[in-house]
Each structure stands twice: as structure tokens, then as C-alpha cells.
């Protein structure tokens, strides 16, 4: 609000007439070009300042900004790359494929994996860090499908979708553990059922898991093995719809 007034103004001693220094409150151009806060921190990144080429004389600091990828594609690229990494776990060093942009390091610096549960050599392959996001609009619709639920604040579906993400991680991990305990490489509905049944907090799922037979019927058992994988890959096609936060 009044920050501009606090800007240090050197006392004007040069003339007896008080001249207005005109603090010029025009916001920096990038602030209006993108509402994403990441963008701002991106520009503020020390890498940019440090990365001034010697010898490019006039206005060099602008140059790198022009061909740096805008925030969004950079992220998407990371996600794609990391999912590729996940598929080929034996791939040695993390990425750094032929760099189109020499400023790739700042991209990494902006998006560090938030939590590392296990020490892993490849940073983008941080264990359980889901990059895919749920469509917030859909979450909101599901929330409001309950007719008792009235208005919902803007943040709420975002918060719920984060909760859902954590919930899913916990379910999938538990079901996978259950499968592992039974020496199965394939996590089935019945594994998920057992995992859910073990946990008191998950009592609210009792009705849903009650439908699942304990022994999976042979019907789906065999044919799924290969096709499941393929399906995962095939369905990757439709990228997540770009989610606006409003």
C-alpha cells in the first residue's frame, strides 16, 4: 500500500528548490505479465543475476529472460522427464538432456522436491511426490454433490484436493505393502480391501470395500497383468487439463 512512501529518498541538497523525486510507482513489468508467484521468484533467482555473460555490453540482463521457458512448460517438462526417469530407474544421472536453455539450473532451484523420504540419488525422482493434480473444478462438484453442502470458499477445493492426494498416497502405499506381504507383484482390489480393513481411520470405507470379494475372481486376474501397464501408458496421452486456481 504505502511502501512507496518508505522508499529511501536521498535528501536533495543540490538546489534550494525542493524537487519532487517522483518515486514512479509503476509496477515492474513481469508482475503484471503473470499472476504466478513462482514467476516472480523465478525472475528474482540469484542465478539470473549471476548469469550475466561478460562482454555482452548493452542491456544484457534482459536477454536471458527472453528465451527462458515460461514457468508452466518448464514444470510440465520436469514432470514428464521425471516420469520418464521413474520408468527407467536404472538411468544414471538425473536428466540434463541436451540443454536448450543454459539456465536450466534455476528451473531446478525453483522446484526442489518438497520432501525426501528416502535418500535418492536422482532429485526429480523423489519418492512420493505427486506432480499430477486433480481438476479442482471436479473436486468442487463432487463436494457439492452433497446437497447439504452449500457454498465453498475458493481455497477449499484446493485444500481438499491436496488432502485427497495424501489420502491416495496412503491408500496406494498400504495396498502395495499388503500385496508385498503376500508376495504379489500385482496390487489387487482385495489387497486394497485388506489394507483398508486394517485401519480404523478408514472405517468410513467399510461399505465400499464390503462389495469386494476376498479372493479376487479369476476373471480379471490373468488378463490384467500386461494390459494394465499398457493402459497406464496409453492413458497418459490426455495431459492434465491446465488447472487455473480460480
Amino acid at each position: 500500500m504505502t511502501e512507496d512512501n518508505y522508499r529511501p529518498i536521498s535528501p536533495d541538497l543540490s538546489s534550494p528548490f525542493p524537487s519532487n523525486p517522483n518515486p514512479n510507482p509503476i509496477p515492474p513489468p513481469h508482475a503484471s505479465s503473470s499472476p504466478l508467484t513462482h514467476r516472480a521468484s523465478y525472475d528474482d533467482s540469484p542465478f539470473f543475476n549471476a548469469y550475466q555473460r561478460p562482454g555482452s555490453g548493452s542491456g544484457p540482463s534482459r536477454v536471458p529472460q527472453q528465451y527462458v521457458p515460461p514457468f508452466q512448460p518448464g514444470f510440465d517438462d520436469m514432470a514428464r522427464r521425471s516420469s520418464r526417469l521413474l520408468q527407467h530407474d536404472d538411468a544414471p544421472a538425473p536428466l540434463l538432456e541436451p540443454q536448450l536453455y543454459t539456465e536450466a539450473p534455476p528451473v531446478m532451484a525453483v522446484a526442489p522436491p518438497m520432501e525426501m523420504e528416502e535418500p535418492m540419488p536422482a532429485p526429480p525422482a523423489a519418492p512420493i511426490e505427486v506432480k499430477t493434480k486433480f481438476p479442482v473444478a471436479r473436486i468442487k462438484r463432487i463436494m457439492q454433490a452433497d446437497e447439504d453442502v452449500g457454498k465453498v470458499a475458493q481455497v477449499t477445493p484446493i485444500a481438499v484436493s491436496k488432502a485427497l492426494e495424501l489420502f491416495m498416497i496412503s491408500l496406494v502405499t498400504k495396498a502395495a505393502q499388503e500385496a508385498k506381504d503376500r508376495n504379489s507383484k500385482r496390487v489387487t482390489a482385495s489387497h486394497l480391501k485388506h489394507a483398508v480393513a486394517k485401519d480404523e481411520v478408514l472405517d468410513f470405507l467399510a461399505d465400499i470395500i464390503a462389495k469386494v470379494p476376498d479372493q479376487p475372481a479369476g476373471r480379471k486376474h490373468e488378463d490384467g497383468e500386461g494390459s494394465d501397464q499398457n493402459e497406464g501408458r496409453r492413458k497418459r496421452g490426455p495431459r492434465k487439463p491446465k488447472e487455473e486456481s480460480d
Partner: protein
């Protein structure tokens, strides 16, 4: 049967592709484990149930506080109430991120209001900006 995607309440479930993608992120092929289709479908049902649970609990809490809108704090309380307290820090972080984004937007707006210019003047400036932008666009970046 589970592969029919076009049943009537399809839009009240989660998008399959997204769910599958997330599963693959949690259980990458390198883990040696695969997640079967029926498990995925069950997981999706569980997820929808989870959303319903959280929102109805949050709704109750908000009603108790005589609020008409479910806010983040209600979700937070609902999670604690239902035994998902360990999700709370992450949720708050996400909500905070969102607020930051909104703030930066609002700041911009209030700067406009404080510019001390009349609405007509602002409109005129806007039109001018539009025009220059159109010109720039028409020139096109080569």
C-alpha cells in the same frame, strides 16, 4: 463393465487417467508392482467417498460456526476430527500458496484504484494499451 466410461454419474467420480497417472507416480514400474484395474476402480470410489466425508464434516463444522461458506479452516478441523491430522500441515501450505497468489493479484488491483486517476482516464489508458498490444501482435514476433 468397469470400463464403460459413460455412465450417468461419471462426472461425480475422478478422471480415470489422472488417477492412473498418480498411481503410477506412487508405484513406478521400477517398484516392480502394478496396480490392477479393479484396485484402481475401488481406489477411485474410496477417493470420492473421502471427499464426501471431508466435505460433509467440514460443512457441519461451518454450520456450527454459523458460517455459510466452507472455508479452509473448516476442512482443517474436519481432517483433525476424522483422524487425518497429519494431512493438515500440507493442506495449510497449499492454502497459503493460494492466498499468496490471490494477494499478488489484489495488490495489483488496489494499485490501480490508488492511481488517483478517474475511471474514464483509466479506461482510456486501457484502450491505448489494447491498441498498442494489438499492433504488436499484428507485427508478430518473427
Amino acid at each position: 463393465m468397469s470400463d464403460r466410461e459413460f455412465n450417468s454419474n461419471d462426472d461425480l467420480s475422478l478422471p480415470k487417467a489422472t488417477v492412473q497417472k498418480i498411481i503410477t507416480e506412487i508405484l513406478p514400474p521400477s517398484s516392480g508392482q502394478t496396480f490392477s484395474k479393479d484396485a484402481r476402480d475401488l481406489l477411485m470410489e474410496c477417493c470420492v467417498e473421502f471427499i464426501t466425508l471431508i466435505s460433509s464434516e467440514a460443512n457441519e463444522i461451518s454450520e456450527k460456526e454459523a458460517k455459510k461458506t466452507i472455508a479452509c479452516e473448516h476442512v482443517e478441523k474436519a481432517l483433525k476430527e476424522l483422524g487425518f491430522a497429519d494431512y493438515v500441515p500440507d493442506i495449510l501450505a497449499v492454502a497459503e500458496d493460494h492466498k499468496e497468489q490471490l494477494k499478488s493479484r489484489e495488490k495489483k488491483q488496489s494499485k490501480m484504484e490508488q492511481s488517483g486517476l478517474s475511471e474514464e482516464e483509466l479506461l482510456r489508458q486501457q484502450q491505448e494499451l489494447f491498441r498498442s498490444a494489438t499492433e504488436k501482435y499484428n507485427q508478430g514476433p518473427e
